[in-house]
Symmetry: C5
Subunit: 322 residues, 5 copies
């Protein structure tokens, strides 16, 4: 579905143009075309391929979707795939995809499976003609920046969730729930990492050494994007490691709790076993058991039993078993 298709000259919007006119505008000097698609079908992509002379393999990837994040050069055209991650209102993590084709005088973006849009990017760019004058590479930077900036709230909310779990991890009785949440969180961290890390590696080739011609004059900007991605990546690495440790610590806590339960079980079992043994003694049927005939035998026996049990209780308490 075509969202918009606009021609710009010297950083200013010329006009919304029909797709069929793209070719004409591409030949004008100082002019570039910025097209945005959404959930595009094969026919649209085919038309775009013809208008912009895109490479078969790149269009094939865009059509097929489910690519890993990457930046590939096909002649003078860059083909970029980025993942867009967002939490749905029901707290599920969904991964959308945006493919961007960048030539020296055009930008074509095609996003799918995501509710996020780039209207804000276009509006801001149009309000700053002195930046938009840099042409396609600046638009490309603005799109990347928008995608990357949206990783931060997702990562932040993961950090918050981890902190919530961490608070519970040392309180007893929550082990099962913690482990389930840690496992789910680890998977989500993995999803975001596989959006961030390959993109970071690819972006690392847009500044510094040999740089695709299209990006040459905007290297500082792409280094900035790289830096943001590196920040994401570091945070995700910390999350990952902390989750791994938390899973291990959770197991330790369960074992510690169980160990304490076993101790208490041992202690109480001991106390009652002693009581049972004692009452059993006086339940024996020997004829000559003088204490059985004493007037105060019964209270005496009960006192002995209670006394022994109290003594044991006190000793167990002292040694920390109860």
């Amino acid at each position: 579905m075509l969202i918009n298709c606009v021609a710009y000259q010297q950083g200013n919007k010329l006009a919304d143009i029909p797709v069929s006119e793209i070719g004409n505008y591409l030949h004008r000097p100082d002019c570039f075309v910025w097209v945005a698609l959404k959930e595009s079908d094969d026919a649209e992509l085919l038309e775009m391929q013809q208008q912009f002379s895109l490479h078969d393999l790149a269009v094939e990837d865009a059509r097929h979707g489910h690519q890993r994040p990457k930046i590939e050069e096909y002649g003078n055209t860059l083909f970029t795939v980025m993942h867009m991650v967002e939490y749905t209102p029901t707290d599920e993590l969904v991964v959308g995809e945006v493919c961007v084709f960048v030539g020296h005088n055009f930008v074509l973006s095609s996003r799918s499976r995501s509710s996020q849009n780039f209207l804000g990017v276009r509006e801001r760019a149009e309000r700053e003609p002195h930046l938009l004058r840099h042409g396609a590479s600046f638009v490309f930077y603005a799109l990347m920046d928008a995608v990357v900036d949206r990783y931060f709230p997702v990562i932040d909310s993961m950090e918050t969730e981890l902190e919530t779990i961490e608070e519970q991890i040392f309180s007893p009785g929550t082990a099962r729930q913690n482990i389930e949440r840690l496992y789910a969180l680890k998977r989500r961290v993995g999803v975001v990492r596989h959006a961030v890390v390959p993109l970071m590696e690819a972006t690392g080739k847009l500044f510094g050494g040999r740089v695709p011609q299209v990006c040459e004059r905007s290297q500082d900007y792409f280094r900035d994007v790289y830096d943001h991605l590196a920040r994401c990546s570091t945070t995700l690495e910390v999350l990952r490691e902390t989750i791994a440790t938390a899973i291990q610590v959770n197991l330790s806590m369960v074992t510690i709790e169980e160990s304490e339960t076993t101790k208490r079980l041992a202690a109480w079992a001991g106390i009652f076993a002693v009581a049972t043994a004692f009452v059993g003694v006086w339940g024996m049927n020997f004829e000559h058991m003088p204490e059985l005939k004493w007037a105060w035998g019964y209270p005496f026996a009960v006192s002995v039993i209670v006394g022994v049990c109290a003594l044991m209780y006190w000793r167990f308490k002292k040694s920390g078993w109860l």
Copy 2:
């Protein structure tokens, strides 16, 4: 066993030719020969070696089999080994092998231990003469692409299996079965990884920097294959890590379950120990135990015991032990 041996000119099939004629066709300009073998024996390989002047060591590897995936240059000839993985109908993972020799005007493929064939590749190639015109390197690409595309369903079915196990991992009583399945799955993932990763590394040398002469004009295509392999590799890495975590989590779940069992055991044991101690008390043979003579002594005693036990039950229930 020879499957077919065909000469092509300008992207069009010339003729099925006998093996002994290969030499003649190799000398014609713009002509190339594409030979496919299957479970080839030593005699066949020797004949091919003579026809195509293949290197001793490469033929030795092809003859011996059980190589790791690799791409080696012998002069102007490329020798490639790829693993073909597939699930049998009985859900076992089998690994076949295909060796491909690529010269500037010939392709020789020899597959073994696999039910998959490349007839589809040849048919599709013959239907697109404009691509087949690129010659040996395009055929080589088409073969690689066919092998790599068949990794995806295998990896997908592994992901599905992992998801099935994950659903069970948090439900009690399935620990033994989960661990067996995770262990088996981990081994299978390892098998596919050792098909994918070395091939990916080798393919990485077919584009970008110094590239074997044969592949020079098809670099974009080999980068596409590389990209597919990188996608496989990432997915396998995720699988591997998730399995490792799942094994750890499974152990945690067992420990948690055991811990809960121990608690319940402690609780019930405690309740019955108390009951036993009480009935023991009134089973003592003291002469002066006034309650024994009470008319309502027995019901009273039973009430006391039941009451105490009920109290304990309630307390244990409240503190989550039962």
Copy 3:
């Protein structure tokens, strides 16, 4: 908030100058300006940007804060972000941030979220004009050195804490507390690592190979800073690994303790179970149990029971169960 803004010539302080005069001093030969800000607001940063012609993206990063440690070149200006870590009096670890802009004739530092200051650095530098004569790069070195030197006491106090925990790890009954402290320590080590490691990597580019022009004549000094950071990094790596092992060992100790508890439980339970079974025997109501009528039957029975229990106690003691 402006702390100070001083112009230096030939290594000697010329004067405290107002911000608006900076431009004039920058044009004098052999003269450089050293400005220090603290918790600077947008207006201050904007003014500085104009005075020193700083790059938009760098100022944006400084304004936004929460950057990872890095050193970036924008033309001839270096933009550096360092983390300052310190323990508060209440033993919490806080992370401040200092941004340093270095040109060939100016240094601008802006710190935030930290109680540490750099007055000492300025004083020492002013006392050594022969060093200060090296200009901006020496000041930059002095600032880095000051930040890095403050990592050592923090790391030392972490080592001390780990040693305290290690002493406890093999003493029984401290498992829960140990694991909590190890977990907290591991997180703190992570925080300092993420201050040290990226800075170390960035500093590694200030000597040896291609070096930013500003730092060219002070390479030995930056190698020294790098060496200090490498020392920190090694110590942190050791800490990290030791903590990981300690967590594992702690779990082992809990399991060992539990195992011993289980053994003792088994032993005592066994002894009392035997006693209870025996007293039960003589509590049976058979008419023809001759020992029940013996004069010494009761003492005999008690002796038998005590004897058997003592025998069991002795055997369990010998085999290490008690």
Copy 4:
């Protein structure tokens, strides 16, 4: 101990020569000398050093033994150390060592602590004069190939052993034995890895980039050796990882088994505790317990007890505890 010392010309054996004649033959064109030593003493090595002008440090290493696998250039001479691993008839893994000095017209091998010999290599080489004509580098390749080929059966037998253990790992009651065998196997895998991996890294420098002059014309052959070593290394890596997982899984299985034991213990203990409590009730000495006087009281009581126990048994069975 000298095994043989032979001069070759044009790929054909000239003569067995005495050690003192070596110098003469080295000066003849197209002639090379191949000497094999075994458990050589200092005097022999000294003589060889003089005959072949070997470097002090290399001879020192050969004399001292217990080197790690390596390939070092001393001027135009290569000094190679390889480990030879083999199983003794009593299934112990022994590591021998072979040092090879390779010059452009000589090969000197000296092996120690190994029952394996290289007679087969010499025989095969002498039967193929067209290969032996390549001179010292071909002999060097043949020796490496012989050493490396002997790694495969050792690794195969380790794989077989691991498979045997794996079959047992999920059957109960074998945990202690499994863990002992896995631990021993892991150590043995480590021994072979330290024979294979450094040699592979060293061999990687004998083809491709800058190559020692001696090996220049046989690069394809050394790449083949490298490929074999890479195959060994991959298999060892898989073994290592599988063993690590198996140790972890074994621990899981023990915990699972223990958990089941605990459950059954809980169940049976519960059933008998109930029975004991019931019989205790009717063992109480209250005067007014009407059921005690009933004619069918006893059978009734036993029925009640058996009934309750049977009910519990059935419930436990149903919930999988028994």
Copy 5:
């Protein structure tokens, strides 16, 4: 403290010279000075700095101590820090430090916190003038070699200790002691690793590629030192990994032992619970329990109980629980 200060010419000792004369000797051609210090104070280092024109930062490092192992170039002077590890007679591991400054005509070593000395190195060097003629770089090599050679006995004694622990790890009842010893050993391995690995990395830059001028003619010697360090490093890596596995295996063994204890506990508890339930049955006070009146009732009951218990014992024995 000055140990000695000697001038050499052409590999022969000229004279013990006072520190103040050093400058004169440094100017003589073919002459070099070798100074050894021990626990040097600031004044001594300052004097040395003046005599040899050492760099501020290097002297600062030497004065401050507690550096990580490294080799740094300051102009034409190399500054080297090495750790010396040794076991005290009471089996503690102490780490000393030796700083070596190497110029083209001088060597200055300063060691601290170590009882080891380098007198042997000097004596051996003076006995071999043909080697000492190589000048400062040979002395530097000799010192490194001496330090590195002393790592081997320390590492050997660690291997011996690990073997002792390994023998115990599978024998029951030693778990607590094993884990303590493994933990301590792991820490000691870490200490030696941090002496070996950074030194190895630094030494790797003294041969092969661009080499400091001072070491240029002795590259083969430094490669030999590197090789020794690589050997140490490999052994330490194996130790580290084996310890990690041993800690894991130790935990497994504890769990296995505990599991067996639990089984035996279950078995014995079962047997006695059955006995107790039976005696309880005949302790009931029903009037109509015919067996209570039988003459042989008592022996019969005891036989029944003993019989049932024996049957259970036999079954448990057979199924491996006892």
